[in-house]
């Protein structure tokens, strides 16, 4: 399974990420997920979230999740970008792409990745009023 991870302060550029995708002739499903900053956070109106990562551990924990995915499903590739620093409302903080032969495993792996990330990857956020 191909893995690709970026933890970056620059905005997530979907248009630039698309052409970097390469899928083999056995791939039938591609899923993208974008996590976007919402205006309401814990019932307060915000203008941005300030994300912070303990980066070396975040990278390691993402790699462990990738290992679990590779062991569980026939996924061809996973790409993840998580933005840190200030991310304004309406901007994506997370971008995930999963490619697989069939959609069932692609959806399962993509949801698993996000659920696990939210449990173990040391990234935190603070509301910016």
């Amino acid at each position: 399974m191909k893995r690709w991870l970026r933890i970056q302060t620059e905005p997530i550029d979907e248009g630039a990420l698309l052409p970097a995708r390469s899928i083999s002739r056995g791939i039938g499903a591609v899923i993208y997920f974008l996590g976007v900053v919402r205006e309401q956070e814990a019932e307060k109106t915000i203008t941005a979230l300030e994300y912070e990562a303990f980066e070396k551990m975040a990278v390691h924990q993402f790699e462990k999740i990738f290992e679990l995915i590779a062991a569980k499903w026939p996924i061809e590739s996973v790409r993840v970008v998580h933005r840190i620093g200030a991310v304004r409302v309406n901007e994506p903080s997370l971008w995930v792409e999963v490619t697989a032969p069939h959609r069932g495993e692609a959806f399962a792996a993509c949801q698993f990745l996000i659920d696990e990330m939210k449990k173990v990857v040391p990234i935190w956020k603070r509301p910016v009023a």
Partner: protein
């Protein structure tokens, strides 16, 4: 035995500190280290039930036996995404 302790996210605010060097007796566990840190930074006690602990890049629990030079991280529940 010398241990580096890192505080992440709002644990930095609670302690007013992002990194501290602690001397602990040989054979100390993370549990022991935590008790020492809570004496030094009483506000950490407020978060006792929602503190995550890692050594290096791996999560560890209170009975982990510390080794010279370990880098221990304390932080609140993670919120990526």
């Amino acid at each position: 035995m010398s241990i580096t302790v890192l505080f992440h996210s709002y644990f930095r605010d609670l302690t007013g500190c992002s990194e501290i060097r602690e001397e602990v007796p040989a054979g100390s566990t993370i549990g022991k280290l935590r008790a020492t840190l809570e004496k030094k930074f009483p506000k950490l006690r407020l978060m006792q039930r929602s503190t995550l602990i890692a050594v290096g890049v791996e999560y560890q629990s209170g009975d982990y036996k510390l080794k010279e030079g370990d880098e221990v991280s304390l932080f609140p529940p993670v919120q990526g995404g």
